[in-house]
């Protein structure tokens, strides 16, 4: 009997089926989850936010395509990773930056943050934060020119007020509110000075919840990061709620500290990562010379990722704990 199928069948090792999610789906899920924060940015800081976002997106995608072509690799800008980098970079810039700055920032993020290491999956540090660090060092004035939402009046951030020896009272005066509750409320909705995408805790949390629901991120890092900040603030005699809502903590905890490439793969490693980032953030906020510590704490913890992975290997089934 002749074999009716011979020569047409694929032979490969199991498994013969794959899950639905691929990198592209995950990246676009992250991009979608960032929409509420983008809407909040436009609402609070005007259409200029959208312009900054468009510049980072166009420059990042263009830069990645050009660099990949230059080194003779397949152009993979459709995988969504450069898009996510671009959106997060825009969200990490003050609304007042001159329009050439997001362009430079995107070049740095893609070039120095990612491509020099070999592209997606190989960068040890978060590309967005690498770029932001360099921008902050190169143009410190441009990177700290804050405005109040709606009327575009120059302002300080609540954290900066605190750094200059202020207390909650000073923060309340800054935001023109009477009670602690209205201060928290205003910070929660995002009506304050800050980077484009970091001010609305509500919008970012919606995105973060979506990512957890879609299992793109796990609870480990955000939850341990945020609770460590709250507990450390308490221990240092500071207002934990204020510190949770202030600065870029929530954006950092849900998006930068969960960047899969630069954070541990083991569950325990992720927990230590969150602990370390939380501790460093509060130490910088309380004792450092900078008002905000999210960026440096995440970058420092990125450096510990290979070690954390190595020393937090899970206990293998049927073996004793190491």
């Amino acid at each position: 009997m002749a074999d009716p199928l011979s020569g047409e069948l694929i032979v490969s090792s199991a498994p013969h089926v794959r899950g639905r999610d691929n990198i592209r789906h995950m990246m676009y899920d992250v991009a979608i989850s960032l929409a509420p924060a983008g809407i909040a940015a436009v609402y609070f800081f005007g259409l200029r936010s959208l312009l900054i976002l468009l510049i980072t997106v166009a420059s990042a995608l263009g830069a990645e395509a050009l660099m990949q072509r230059a080194i003779g690799r397949r152009v993979t800008i459709a995988d969504g990773s450069a898009l996510v980098t671009a959106i997060l970079l825009a969200y990490n810039l003050p609304p007042t930056v001159p329009l050439w700055l997001p362009f430079i920032g995107a070049l740095i993020a893609i070039g120095l943050g990612k491509m020099v290491y070999g592209g997606l999956g190989y960068n040890p540090f978060n590309p967005v934060l690498v770029s932001r660090t360099i921008l902050l060092a190169a143009w410190p004035m441009l990177m700290t020119r804050w405005i109040l939402p709606f009327d575009a009046v120059a302002t300080a951030t609540p954290l900066a007020v605190m750094k200059m020896g202020g207390n909650l009272q000073a923060a309340k005066e800054l935001l023109h509110v009477e009670s602690n509750l209205s201060l928290y409320r205003q910070m929660f909705f995002g009506n304050r000075g800050g980077c484009l995408g970091e001010t609305s805790i509500l919008a970012i949390s919606i995105g973060g919840a979506y990512l957890m629901y879609k299992r793109v991120i796990t609870w480990h890092i955000p939850i341990t990061y945020l609770s460590t900040v709250a507990i450390t603030a308490l221990l240092l005699g500071r207002d934990p709620l204020f510190h949770l809502l202030a600065g870029g903590l929530i954006l950092g905890a849900f998006y930068m500290a969960t960047c899969p490439v630069t954070t541990p793969v083991t569950p325990r490693g992720r927990i230590y990562f969150g602990l370390g980032a939380g501790l460093l953030t509060m130490l910088i906020r309380a004792f450092g010379s900078l008002p905000e510590g999210v960026m440096y704490s995440i970058l420092l913890m990125n450096a510990t990722t290979p070690l954390l992975d190595r020393y937090t290997r899970p206990r293998i089934y049927g073996r004793r704990a190491r």
Binding site: M1, N22, P314, I316
Partner: protein
């Protein structure tokens, strides 16, 4: 109350609805049966017949002296027309007995039922099971009589009957539990009797409520049988996971279930033991699901060992569309073949046919360190680390620090990987490389 389950693992798409409700049909006996002399883990059988001999249905046609082996029997009555190497599902040629079926189903006269099995001693029962050619029918094909004779220094306290059937498409065990629950329970009682009247746990996934009801009814109340509903999750049918979920015990790394005080048998194996003991009929047929989007009329069959897979597919309405993959077993762990001209062996519980549009054609991209493989691994390995060590040929590190040989090859890591990396594939490759190296060293 929430059902029990094991930590980690994954949820599949299951696709069982095509056959879960379909009663088992007895497949036509093959006109020519091709019976491989290796259908088990252990020593190959030596033929006990010659070309030209007449054989009865149920007659032993191959056996070996070795401790770990299992005899094979003729699935039909007829004439031995050839004794030659034939392509086997293990993807190599295996000496096989080719028998022309005379259509009489003439039973081997020496076959004796043992309805009084409760009065037989364990050794006699083990011997009957050995002579009946019983092997693990859940896929492992390990000789059952060896499993039922655990070494004396290990105290066994529990018999587990595995009714998880957690792979996509497969429903033969499900139908067996619904249609013949008394065989499963009967087999479980025989196993327990052999091991010294131990408590019996039957684990069944909750996506088979009718099987749970039937088995519970057959088990009756009181007695020492507990039927436990498990949350549907893959790979719950893996021995190590089954032991973890039912007893919260772990099999020591590199060890056997008996070292955790357990003997695990599949429901199909239990039912076959019951059939053998009560009717005398050795293992010459089994339940098999023929399913997948590439089959016209997916179904559950009872088929004779030695029937060609091609005939079983015809029995289920033949091919639908252009077939891209023929999978022996389930899609997560099964073997894909380039032909359907192989015969059914004792450990094949299903054949799944996939068309081009049903399989993933995505190329591997890159690891983004998302950790999904780490979070999915049911034995808590770091598949991505094993992948990197395997690719960099750093096998020592893979074996010692990352538990290469603890991998159960369930495929969860590759399934969830969004970068589409061949994770479990690289692990299997590394294991083979290490084994080769060790063998060479021993040879020197």
């Amino acid at each position: 109350m929430r059902n029990k389950t094991f930590p980690q693992g994954i949820h599949l798409r299951y696709h069982k609805q095509a056959t879960a409700g379909k009663p088992t049909v007895i497949a036509k006996a093959p006109a020519v049966a091709v019976v491989p002399l290796i259908q088990h883990v252990g020593a190959p059988c030596i033929p006990q017949i010659n070309v030209g001999d007449h054989v009865f249905m149920g007659q032993k046609i191959g056996d070996a002296e070795a401790l770990i082996t299992a005899p094979v029997h003729s699935p039909v009555s007829g004439k031995v027309i050839a004794l030659e190497a034939r392509f086997h599902v293990m993807r190599r040629d295996v000496l096989s007995v080719v028998i022309e079926n005379d259509g009489e189903d003439e039973l081997y006269p020496d076959i004796t039922p043992h309805p009084d099995w409760e009065r037989l001693d364990p050794d006699t029962l083990r011997k009957i099971i050995r002579e009946g050619g019983i092997v693990g029918m859940g896929g492992a094909a390990f000789p059952t009589h060896i499993k039922l004779a655990p070494q004396s220094d290990k105290s066994i306290d529990t018999v587990i009957i595995n009714g998880a059937e957690c792979e996509d498409y497969l429903t033969a065990d499900h139908r067996l539990m619904v249609e013949h629950p008394e065989w499963v329970i009967g087999g479980a009682l025989i196993i327990s009797h052999i091991l010294g009247n131990l408590k019996i746990l039957v684990g069944i996934e909750a996506n088979k409520p009718d099987a749970l009801t039937a088995i519970r009814q057959a088990a009756g109340v009181g007695g020492n049988i507990s039927v436990i509903a498990l949350d549907t999750k893959y790979p719950q049918g893996g021995e190590k996971e089954m032991i973890k979920v039912l007893l919260d015990r772990e099999v020591p790394s590199g060890g056997l279930p008996s070292e955790a005080g357990v003997v695990v048998n599949n429901v199909a194996t239990a039912a076959k033991i019951f059939e053998l003991i009560t009717t005398g009929m050795p293992l010459i047929s089994r339940g098999v699901t023929i399913s997948g989007p590439g089959v016209n009329a997916p179904g559950n069959l009872i088929a004779r060992i030695g029937t060609s897979i091609e005939e079983l597919i015809s029995e289920c309405g033949g091919y639908k569309g252009k077939i891209a993959k023929v999978i022996i077993g389930g899609p997560m762990t099964g073997i894909s073949l380039f032909t359907t001209l192989v015969t059914l062996t004792k450990s094949i519980g299903g054949v799944v046919l996939m068309r081009h549009e049903d399989i993933s054609h995505e190329d591997p991209v890159v690891c983004i360190r998302c950790a999904r493989c780490v979070d999915a691994c049911p034995v808590y390995l770091m598949p991505i680390a094993l992948y990197h060590y395997s690719r960099s040929l750093n096998y020592d590190q893979a074996v010692e620090a990352y538990g290469l040989f603890d991998c159960i090859e369930c495929g969860c890591c590759s399934y969830v990987c969004p970068g589409r990396l061949p994770l479990v594939e690289s692990i299997k490759h590394a294991k083979a490389e290490v084994n080769n190296k060790r063998q060479k060293q021993r040879g020197r």
